[in-house]
């Protein structure tokens, strides 16, 4: 027994260094999947399609949604218009797929048990999974914004950016607003991803988890459109998403944006903790 202990003594308590290796591995896993690459391509196709359609049809003034009618004035309106179109369905759908896969996907193919016995602490695994979903949310938004901006500028040029308040912004300031919009919507999707992460800890079926998350999204949009439930609306995670347009005013209207960010934070914290409560003591039998 003493011999055994002596043999172990030099090893001592292993030194644990904080490392981003698992997070990077996670991002490679997400980014390397054909399905996800196809999803990004679909997200990117929408602004391209919109820009091309507008270019060849040139609607008269006052037609179409707000941003779309301004597209011809400035190419940066292409990504904004595309975000307006994708924020209700496409982006949450992409997020649902990623989030549904996060835990349930690993459980489904059995890799979860091997990750946990590496060992990876369950809390750490949930933190890394959620961090990767947040980055995935940003990727999703950028997949709309970057190709949208590129094709918009290519087809319609980079004139001064008229704001919704009637004033005009310089190109640099306009680009900066676009960055703010991207970050704001990413935060909203990240909050939604926390719901998806929680659902993903409930099942071993990633597709089921993704569908359930998508149903949550659709139900929220339906509830948000029922006037009798207006007391509920400010508490729905997606209620302030479309307020991203407020970032295009001059000066910026912060009211809904700030409220939206607080709601995002609340959803993220509550659902991450629910995931943790569910996952930390769960029997992994897959």
């Amino acid at each position: 027994m003493s011999a055994v202990e002596a043999a172990r003594a030099p090893v001592g308590r292993p030194r644990v260094l904080p490392s981003t290796r698992l997070l990077r591995s996670e991002l490679r896993l997400i980014g390397g999947r054909r399905r996800n690459q196809a999803g990004l391509a679909v997200l990117a196709a929408v602004p391209i399609l919109m820009a091309v359609v507008v270019k060849i049809s040139t609607p008269g003034p006052g037609e179409g949604p707000n941003f779309l009618s301004s597209v011809t004035a400035n190419g940066l309106f292409v990504p904004l218009a595309a975000l307006g179109v994708e924020v209700a369905m496409f982006l949450p759908l992409a997020m649902s797929m990623l989030a549904g896969d996060s835990i349930a996907g690993e459980a489904n193919i059995g890799t979860l048990r091997y990750l946990l016995t590496v060992p990876v602490d369950r809390t750490r695994l949930l933190a890394v999974k959620y961090a990767s979903l947040c980055i995935g949310a940003l990727w999703g938004v950028l997949a709309v914004v970057v190709p949208g901006a590129v094709i918009g500028l290519a087809l319609f040029g980079a004139g001064p950016l008229p704001t919704l308040s009637g004033t005009e912004l310089g190109f640099g300031a306009g680009l900066w607003r676009l960055v703010l919009v991207s970050l704001y919507l990413s935060a909203g999707l990240a909050a939604f991803a926390a719901i998806g992460l929680f659902i993903s800890t409930l099942t071993e079926q990633p597709i089921g988890a993704a569908i359930a998350a998508m149903i949550v999204n659709i139900v929220a949009w339906i509830l948000d459109s029922v006037p009798q439930l207006d007391w509920l609306h400010p508490w729905l995670f997606m209620h302030d998403w479309l307020s991203f347009a407020d970032l295009m005013r001059d000066p910026i209207h912060w009211g809904n944006i700030t409220h939206g960010l607080w709601i995002d934070l609340a959803y993220a914290v509550v659902f991450w903790l629910l995931s943790w409560a569910r996952f930390s003591g769960k029997d992994v039998t897959s």
């Binding site: 027994m1 055994v4 290796r21 591995s25 390397g32 091997y114 946990l116 060992p119 992994v284």
Partner: protein, 336 residues
Amino acid sequence: MTQLAQERAGARDPAPDSGGTGAGSRDATLAVQTSGLTKRFHHQTAVDSIDLAVPRGAVYGFLGPNGSGKTTTIRMLLGLVQPTSGTRSVLGMPIPEQANEALHRVGSLVEGPAFHPYLSGRANLVRLDAADLLADPRTARTRIDAALDRVGLLAAAAKRYRAYSLGMRQRLAIAAALLQPRELLVLDEPTNGLDPQGTREVRSLIGSLASDGTTVFVSSHLLAEVEQICTHLGVMREGRLVAQGTVAEVRGAGARTLRLETPQPQAAVGVLEGLGVQEVTLRGEVVRGIPESLGGEEIVAALVQTGVGVRAFAIASPSLEDLFVSLTGEGFDVSG
């Protein structure tokens, strides 16, 4: 072969299981110890109050039919499943309290291989290595290649896991268990899906790991697969641990049998029964019985004294296979 295993058991086993380790007391000479470990799923008791004792340095064969609770026990040891009651410790550290520290020193293969199908074999190992906070990224490539080489998978390392055969998948899972130097290997059915050649290779791999001092806890539903390499055995039946100890101890638990050939069988039966031999049976000129603690010399001397001729006489321990069937009841069918 079994003789060899027994000698190794004697040589490397610092403290053979005394069977008397009380609940709660942890013994540092044990690589795995459980006390009253129980798991109930709904109404079914998968594991019923088992007290495992796996000495450091042992090759412990954890045997039992499919469905007898082996995998659930292994999952509890690795912290994947919470026991309903009872305690467990691995390498002297209680699970789950010190699971992170203990599991770094444990390589495991649980219920078959599981990897990302669209990643290559190597990329899958890179991912597992990346998940390990204690793994040094600078040595990752060397360690991964060494592990792949050890299981003979280096040539197929760049292939997608999806394209692997069952045997290759199993090898990759073993490679994953060998990414770090380990003090304990927990291998659940490591030869599943392997051809006879692969089975032999895994056996010799386990042997070489064990000779480096690694404790190996290997489960199987096939006695023949593990009996040659094991120093210790634990036998499960319907969630209970029905036998445990060194191979010699487990084998000794089965009754020895006596076989006598004699021209005077009737007289021989009388003599044997007089000596206290149990269950004496007679068929033709062959007499059988269970001598219990009686020595062969004693019996033969008594026979010769009373004028019973002895043509052939033998006392034999039961084969492990026979013992096995008797311990696990219905043999190796799936149990309830």
